[in-house]
Assembly symmetry: C2
Homo-oligomer: 243 residues x 2
Amino acid sequence: MNDAREVVVLRYGHRPGRDDRMTTHVGLTARALGADRVILPDNAGQSAETVRDITDRFGGPFAVELRDDQKAIVRDFEGVVVHLTMYGERVQDVEAAVREAVGLDEPAVVGEASPPRDLLVVVGGEKVPWALYERADFNVGVTNQPHSEVAGLAVFLDRLFGGAELDREWADADRRVVPEATGKTVVDADRDSADASDDAAGEGDDAAGEGDDAAGESAGTDDRTETDDRTEANDRTEADDCD
Amino acid sequence: MNDAREVVVLRYGHRPGRDDRMTTHVGLTARALGADRVILPDNAGQSAETVRDITDRFGGPFAVELRDDQKAIVRDFEGVVVHLTMYGERVQDVEAAVREAVGLDEPAVVGEASPPRDLLVVVGGEKVPWALYERADFNVGVTNQPHSEVAGLAVFLDRLFGGAELDREWADADRRVVPEATGKTVVDADRDSADASDDAAGEGDDAAGEGDDAAGESAGTDDRTETDDRTEANDRTEADDCD
């Protein structure tokens, strides 16, 4: 999102089948909320495919990597490492220090501005080795309550970027959702307004329905009638996700 | 979280099996980030059980309901209805209006303070009827990108409460995580400090591991050695979650 530094989200651990949707949501949340890249374990190929597909259709830049060397990635990362964990320091207490460490905030001392540094945000899956707690520059808890790694990542990124991630623009998108008080409008991304022809709007809406479903949100056009029509692509995604 | 108004999260739609973990995470995120109650579809009994179990152990107050009349709940809700959807207005554009509508913000006009009103936050699952878009006082998009309903709920609640939800205190908890720069410390909730005996700390850590796992985060004590020891309770939760 920012040329000065790269923000990378690492999904640490993945259990195929059980974790497919959570890992997909980690990747999609990283993309939507301002990270530049997500690294998934190499057994999470299906999640990677979904996130790449969304990026192809709704824009980037956003990179998706599959890697089998998670320990080495954390150990050798040249930059600041944040580990999100319910055992960590309270996000409201350390977010300013994290921002300053990567050069996103004004420094506490005038004239001591931190240069931009890359940031690795580690999101736990199954087992997380104790070495990760020790290597992390910040172990951060978005509350110290058990809830959801996706929720924790979302709140952390929103606070890291101070909301600026919500205003980012997307390059190379095929389609774009038009924010509306009451409506479901998708247009070709190279159009400036929502005055798409019926045909084009219909196509866009369908496609957004697929993406929406991949993200586990509500389905597309057919919502209005609540019929059970779904594309084959949707059915495949649904069936594969939790097998 | 606040006596003046009730904030209720409604999970709209649930596909047993496929949606179990997402629905559980919606419930746990609602609890952790300041809502007072979650309403789940009546076919999401397993998710309700998990959220109640976490509330029993980590504290409340937080209510979990199973209801089969989602349409009526939305239609008849006496208060403000927010529907989170990628097609909605941008959260950064409408959050002040939502806060003012429920009496959480200073009014734009002096002397015109809004009284506290209850708030229903609707999180889509599978199909969402068009009537929901029409009934909602605010259709809100946490970005207009496809990502995760759990991430959207988390960012919305954090912005609604302006971060105050992170400081809430929990009543009737059995145990409490002590935030630490590097550590995994769980104490009995009625202790004031982290100086638990080895035995008690061990027990607490195990129990937190279960809760942590239920939330899909990293596992408990055994992380330090990365062995594959898991309690039966953990195994049951894992097996049941995605069947």
